[in-house]
């Protein structure tokens, strides 16, 4: 396959004035929904479907692609500035990003996140163009046992997110796993912990819990502690941009983040969250000064933010080459393809090459647009911090509730939002970290379902986890990671204080 020739063809499609305009519409809208907690790219594309049906498919997918990338840019902004991830892929960014913002380095955090997203987006998209069919073949080798082993690796990596006390971190993690059990069990169809409430049958959405714990929880916590409100934030200190040292500390995490994010996105059960956990762990292990993690290490923002953007490019690989949707956004995009009578799959690259390569080229262009759009905005966003805290957090609480109500128009969801928000405020008050709750909520149900599928297929034979090459290798990696973490702990440099 002549990648360069196809790409040139793609640019010819994408560089028409109309398609450039659609790309701009997509990335701008994407940035906006990324910033608003609760409203994600999946919902937005679904709502746009009736409208985009009037324009030709290539333009529609240029909008959708730009929107998906834009959302991953936008979601880090609120993570960094107000400790509230706009999408679940930016949860890890809250840990160090928000600490940086509180110390007056918000602009640097926003910049490293925007440039890292750009670098990773470009690398991911080029990998998508060059390797898509090969990557999918590898990804399909992953069976349930291998996924379970991958989750074990992710759990081992989470040890670096746990915060000042391993015990408190584990408590938070298990709260998340417990919340993840609510709803219908996928394998048996039986409902668990729903207490007869029909609306709980589908479980508590990660978005809802994240918005509740971070946005509502933070607002309630600050309301309960008038003494904290007087704490002076330093909105901007020194140069408003990245220093030479910031660049030096960021570029390697960007590249590593991209390398970690892309394959995870391409896995049929990967997603954009897992690679951010792994990236954070990797950066912390490689850092010269790991104690700084959790207190505002720029690597802890640069790596995960690159990882989530590369993962988005990865998600498009199985979607375009096999018609496999691996995230809710990809599922909606698949529905959109079918609406146009186009079936993504092994034949798409030949049967609709103008669409595929036009989309890929427009993703590269959209990435550049996002950088141009976001870097000048950094200065503007940082000024958010000048808003008096009661006003700022009052506004956040209102937006969070509107957003969550808007997803399903369900009052049960709003009640759950407030209840979990109270839990979040309580956890903060008692100094329990917040991020592990979401990590548990994501990893718990995924690892459970993969474990049970593996054992069900093997008819109860547990040896599959050791005998399958991928699974066996991954379990050894997880064991080494845990052993390393324990050794580090005993040497006294273990985990560092981290909050929220």
């Amino acid at each position: 396959m002549d990648v360069l020739g196809n790409l040139a063809h793609g640019f010819a499609v994408a560089l028409t004035p109309t398609n450039l305009m659609w790309s701009l519409v997509g990335v701008t809208l994407g940035t906006a929904i990324g910033i608003l907690p609760g409203i994600g790219p999946a919902l937005t594309i679904a709502l746009l479907l009736p409208v985009t049906y009037k324009i030709d498919p290539t333009s529609a997918f240029i909008i959708f692609g730009g929107l998906y990338y834009g959302a991953m840019y936008g979601c880090s902004t609120t993570s960094i500035l107000i400790n509230t991830p706009g999408e679940t892929g930016s949860i890890v960014t809250t840990i160090d990003g928000n600490k940086m913002a509180r110390a007056g380095r918000g602009a640097a955090a926003l910049a490293t996140s925007a440039i890292g997203s750009f670098v990773a987006g470009i690398i991911g998209t080029l990998l998508l163009a060059a390797l898509a069919p090969e990557v999918v073949k590898l990804a399909l080798l992953f069976g349930p046992a291998d996924y379970f082993a991958l989750m074990v690796v992710a759990f081992a990596a989470v040890s670096s997110l746990l915060g000042s006390s391993v015990l408190r971190g584990l408590v938070s993690l298990f709260i998340g796993i417990a919340v993840g059990l609510v709803g219908i069990d996928q394998q048996t169809g039986q409902s668990r912990f729903t207490f007869g409430v029909l609306e709980l049958q589908d479980g508590l959405g990660v978005v809802l819990v994240a918005v509740a714990l971070f946005a509502v929880g933070e607002a309630l916590y600050l309301a309960s502690r008038p003494d904290l409100r007087r704490e002076e934030l330093v909105p901007v200190k020194g140069r408003a941009f990245m220093t030479r040292e910031d660049w030096a500390r960021s570029w390697r995490p960007w590249l590593r983040g991209a390398a970690i994010g892309f394959p995870f996105g391409a896995l049929p059960a990967g997603g954009t969250e897992l690679p951010t956990f792994i990236s954070y762990k990797v950066e912390k292990s490689l850092a010269r000064n790991p104690d700084e993690f959790g207190k505002g290490a720029i690597e802890g923002v640069a790596g995960p933010e690159a990882a989530n953007n590369a993962a988005v490019a990865g998600v498009l690989v199985p979607l375009l080459t096999f018609g496999l949707p691996t995230s809710s956004t990809a599922a909606i995009m698949l529905a959109a393809f079918q609406q146009y009578g186009i079936q993504p799959g092994p034949l798409l690259f030949t049967s609709n090459s103008a669409l595929v390569w036009g989309l890929i080229a427009s993703l590269l262009i959209g990435n550049a647009m996002l950088l141009v759009l976001n870097l000048p905005l950094v200065g503007l966003w940082v000024r958010l911090l000048f808003i008096p805290q009661p006003w700022l957090y009052g506004g956040i609480a209102v937006f969070a509730m509107l957003g969550v109500y808007g997803i399903n128009r369900s009052l049960v969801d709003v009640a759950a939002l407030i209840a979990i928000g109270l839990l979040g405020a309580m956890l903060r008050r008692l100094d329990y970290p917040i991020a592990p709750v979401i990590v548990g909520l994501i990893l718990g149900p995924m690892s459970e379902i993969q474990f049970r599928r593996a054992v069900q297929i093997s008819q109860g034979d547990l040896s599959v986890f050791a005998t399958r090459p991928i699974s066996g290798t991954l379990l050894v990696v997880a064991a080494l990671m845990l052993a390393g973490a324990m050794a580090a702990h005993w040497r006294g440099r273990g985990t560092v204080p981290a909050q929220g």
Binding site: L141, F142, Q187, G189, I332, P346, N408
Partner: protein, 322 residues
């Protein structure tokens, strides 16, 4: 005395011309709201939005609104819809999945509470294996299933959904205890397809239209389809041809509110009838690869009762309904 008949004749002519020019577009309703009991993007939502488009563009209803109420296999929407007693301007999209979900969720409101209007479409199911599989025909599968049902893992959608119901009914039809089948549930078609293509499950059970591109690409092989007749464009035998007495499709239907006045029910039925007969509806079906399976009135009501019975029995035998 000569003029009058001329006037009347002219009047009749104008009427006839009007009727001929707009055969199906005699506007029957001002306003109609359709509930899609699922999130935007899925099959029920798609059905509701196509209905909206066709009813408006064919001039059957002036304004149609679509409302999404997602959750629990459509039973959250069903519970809300059942409260609209006597409302003659509301419809809800429904289908086989809701029959199963209402039963296995022990939902407070069952599908029998609402007024059936018509079945619209069916998506037929199919059984397929990876091309490298040692199962070449349906007979191979049946033989393997009879020797050791646990060794055959079925990859399909959610527990209690169409794929699961089909797998269980198949086992029953070939004389294997449905409780013994090893069904691996997946959320969404993409995840299930990855399991099938990767060879992690023995066979895939899914809608024929979702499996078709992978068969065309030479990755999967058909064993059978579950339709009553062969499906155009799909080179697979039906179960019936192969001696298995089973026809099942993932049908989608529209329901109206409970306790409807007979006049309102007749009105809604004629609105749907006009929609199904319109040019626009046929075009949409062809474009989306949906198969027309229109059935209205008392025949649909009888069908619904039979499906309810068949699904209850099979879900009991696999342990999803106590």
């Amino acid at each position: 005395m000569v003029r009058k008949p001329t006037h009347a004749g002219l009047f009749a002519f104008v009427l006839a011309a009007g009727a001929a020019a707009l055969p199906a577009s005699a506007q029957e309703m001002d306003q109609l709201s359709i509930m899609a009991p699922a999130a935007p993007g899925g099959g029920w939502d798609g059905t509701a939005r196509v209905m909206q488009d066709v009813l408006q563009s064919a001039g059957i209803v002036k304004t149609v609104t679509v409302e999404n109420v997602a959750g629990a296999g459509g039973t959250v929407g069903l519970a809300q819809f059942a409260k609209k007693k006597g409302d003659g301007k509301s419809l809800m999209v429904s289908g086989l999945v809701m029959v199963g979900a209402a039963l296995s969720n022990k939902a407070p409101v069952q599908l029998t509470a609402v007024t059936p209007i018509a079945r619209l479409t069916s998506e037929w199911e199919a059984l397929a294996v990876p091309v490298g599989s040692d199962i070449k025909t349906l007979a191979d599968l049946t033989a393997k299933l009879k020797t050791n049902p646990g060794a055959v893992s079925w990859g399909g959608g959610s527990a209690g959904g169409t794929d699961h119901i089909t797998a269980a009914l198949f086992a029953k039809a070939v004389g294997v205890d449905p409780a013994k089948i090893n069904y691996i549930a997946h959320s969404g078609g993409g995840e299930a397809m990855a399991s099938i293509l990767g060879g992690h499950v023995t066979l895939g059970i899914n809608s024929a239209s979702e499996l078709e591109p992978q068969v065309k690409a030479g990755k999967l092989r058909w064993l059978a389809v579950t339709s009553d007749k062969r499906i155009a464009g799909i080179d697979a035998p039906t179960l019936k041809e192969l001696g298995v007495d089973l026809v099942i499709g993932n049908w989608r239907a529209v329901m109206a509110a409970p306790d409807l006045a007979p006049a309102d029910r007749a009105k809604l039925t004629s609105v749907i009838d006009a929609m199904v007969k319109s040019e626009q509806w046929r075009k949409q079906l062809a474009q989306r690869n949906w198969l027309d399976n229109y059935l209205a009135g008392s025949e649909f009501e009888t069908y619904l009762g039979e499906e309810n019975k068949r699904v209850t029995e099979i879900l009991k035998s696999v342990g999803l309904v106590k």
